[in-house]
């Protein structure tokens, strides 16, 4: 075990081509604030394969130090390889806390790691601060589908671990790269990785849908009525330069691919504008979008719960108003 430091670590997840995933850069923003308050360094931990691009990104976004683990076995995320690498690094360098993006991989890794180290983990946080009284990180997270917020501390165990939602924090400004780079020669033997990827089944219209990073989202639900009905949704999204989202019901019907789904079992989003069309507003849907800045609800049923959180509502047929709204915007832009 290394001597304990006051450093704050941020895990930088990488893509298969060695570039950085957004959330690992976003987290350098609250990371800087917490590291300064804790009186330690802000450290970005980069794990992946051929990671030079990701290392550079971390440097120009303000990391004081970058610890790199680079190897073929880290190209694709696996629980076993990533847990082994991080457990090794955390024991060796002993930072006081670490932030991990609450991506599907991050939420697979976080608990496995916390259990191996015998420390506490707070999942899926939406706000971070330092508890003035104790100096611990105060992790804030939603529970009960977003009906309740809880502030959690990990007073007696180190490191303090948390996963943090993508899209909650903005990337820090670009600055001069002053990062000290530490390369760790750590490898995981193939026989210690106990899962194998046998096949990937891409959806017919495999497209990259960046809902987490979108400023404007126009979503359709069961009220859209069919795959064809999504055309009006897509047209509105297009004129606004936005991204198309969907409810679980629309995904389950097969009208649109799962990569568009917003909610508890889909993506968590926080755009400036979220337009929900033909979506009732079940708690599992709200859990994924209620923190949007401005919410517009378009629904035939005045009693639909979506109106409870909407800033602007229209009670009526989406097929009538959505195309008219699209035209209004087109006219204004012309």
């Amino acid at each position: 075990m290394g001597t304990k430091t006051k450093d704050l670590w941020v895990l930088l997840e990488t893509n298969e081509d060695g570039t950085a995933k957004n959330v690992g850069i976003e987290l350098l923003n609250p990371g800087r604030r917490l590291a300064d308050k804790q009186g330690g360094k802000l450290v970005s931990v980069v794990i992946g394969c051929h990671t030079d691009a990701a290392v550079k990104e971390a440097g120009v976004h303000g990391a004081d130090q970058i610890i790199v683990v680079d190897g073929e076995e880290f190209r694709r995320y696996t629980t076993d390889a990533y847990t082994a690498a991080l457990a090794h690094l955390l024991k060796k360098h002993a930072p006081t806390s670490m932030l991990i993006g609450a991506t599907p991989n991050g939420r697979d890794l976080g608990p496995r790691l916390s259990c191996r180290l015998g420390t506490g983990l707070t999942a899926d946080c939406t706000a971070l601060d330092i508890d003035e009284a104790s100096g611990n990180i105060a992790w804030t997270r939603p529970a009960f589908g977003g009906n309740l917020m809880a502030v959690i501390l990990c007073p007696d165990h180190r490191p303090q671990l948390g996963t943090v939602r993508p899209g909650v924090f903005k990337k820090p400004d670009v600055c001069e790269d002053r990062a000290e780079i530490i390369r760790e020669d750590f490898h995981v033997p193939a026989d210690q990785i106990r899962t194998t990827l046998l096949e990937t089944i891409r959806e017919a219209s495999a497209e990259i849908v960046d809902l987490e990073g979108a400023d404007i989202i126009v979503s359709g639900g069961r009220g859209v009525g069919g795959a064809e009905g999504f055309r009006v949704i897509r047209e509105l999204a297009d004129v606004l330069g936005g991204t198309v989202g969907a409810s679980r019901a629309a995904v389950d019907e097969g009208w649109i691919s799962h990569s568009h789904q917003v909610g508890q079992t889909g993506k968590t989003v926080g755009p400036k504008l979220y337009i929900a069309c033909g979506i009732s507003g079940a708690i599992q849907h709200l859990a994924g979008m209620s923190s949007s800045d401005v919410i517009v609800a378009i629904n035939k049923d005045f009693d639909a719960p979506i109106f409870g959180i909407a800033d602007y509502g229209f009670v009526g047929n989406l097929f009538e108003i959505v195309p008219l709204l699209t035209d209004e915007i087109k006219k204004a832009k012309a």
Binding site: R107, S114, D124, T200, A206, I309
Partner: protein, 268 residues
């Protein structure tokens, strides 16, 4: 194959209301249900059993006495046997302590059943805490490989093939037993209990495990005391002011009004 499914009884979060005067959660009268994600885990086990009828499904829950109702429901749906871990000493456990207790309980159940489990199935997350931590932590305690966010599992000659939800489609992951798998919502609906099974479940005895039986548990790692994370406070998030309902004479006028409002709000 022997499968153990971990199920938690949770309040139905769809039914939770906020008291507008005190701004607190109203929990009274909120029905308790089997965590839906655990229902998907049970369905996955039942599907394996459909193809291999000698499969044995055991359900395990930790919670107060009333969690028996949830276990009964699982017996009625597909489970062969149920165990309830219940003891005041285990109350207040966070996810790490819960997974530790469950891991010791699983060892005990294996001893009592005189059989090892090939796979442990969990829900992806419990809808009360939404943490999604107990599954992976339990896998670590047991020393098993894990696959999270599964939709379906098939038992093949070389181990299990797990259909897992990925960002832009599905992945098929191969894993050898014993292993732990967590399940998310599939596109199909889980089965309902039959009348016959319901009647049998009502008569079934649910075995109880308390601290007295689970002697291998170190009390320093269980309950509130054994939990590294502590809830400092909880609050109901500030509610939004009621929104503006756009209702003009014609739909055209409404569309225009909506456009105006959004422009003034500087979001388009």
């Amino acid at each position: 194959m022997n499968i153990l499914v971990c199920v938690k009884q949770v309040p139905d979060t769809n039914e939770i209301k906020i008291d507008p005067d005190t701004n607190t959660l109203i929990r009274d009268g909120v029905p308790s249900i089997v965590n839906p994600f655990d229902g998907y885990a049970l369905e996955a086990a039942a599907r394996i059993k459909d193809n291999a009828p000698d499969t044995k499904i055991v359900v395990l829950s930790m919670g107060p006495q009333q969690a028996e109702t949830a276990l009964c429901e699982c017996l009625a749906i597909a489970a062969d046997k149920a165990y309830l871990v219940t003891d005041r000493a285990f109350g207040g456990s966070d996810t790490l302590a819960t997974s530790y207790i469950l891991s010791k309980a699983i060892e005990k159940v294996e001893e009592l059943e005189n059989e090892k489990f090939d796979a442990v199935f969990c829900g992806k997350q419990a809808i009360d805490g939404d943490t999604a931590q107990v599954g992976p932590e339990l896998a670590e305690h047991l020393g098993y490989p894990q696959v999270t966010c599964a939709l379906e599992v098939k038992s093949e000659a070389d181990g299990l093939h797990v259909y897992r939800e990925a960002e832009d489609g599905k992945e098929v992951i191969g894993v050898k037993t014993p292993c732990l798998i967590t399940f998310t919502k599939p596109s199909f609906d889980p089965r309902f209990p039959t009348i016959k099974r319901k009647i049998a479940a009502r008569k079934a005895k649910i075995a109880q495990l308390t601290a007295a039986e689970l002697t291998s548990i170190d009390p320093a790692h269980a309950g509130l005391k054994g939990s590294p994370t502590k809830v400092k406070r909880t609050y109901v998030p500030p509610r939004k002011e009621a929104g503006v309902v756009v209702k003009e004479e014609t739909v055209e006028a409404s569309a225009h009004k909506l456009f105006d409002l959004l422009s003034k709000a500087h979001v388009i």
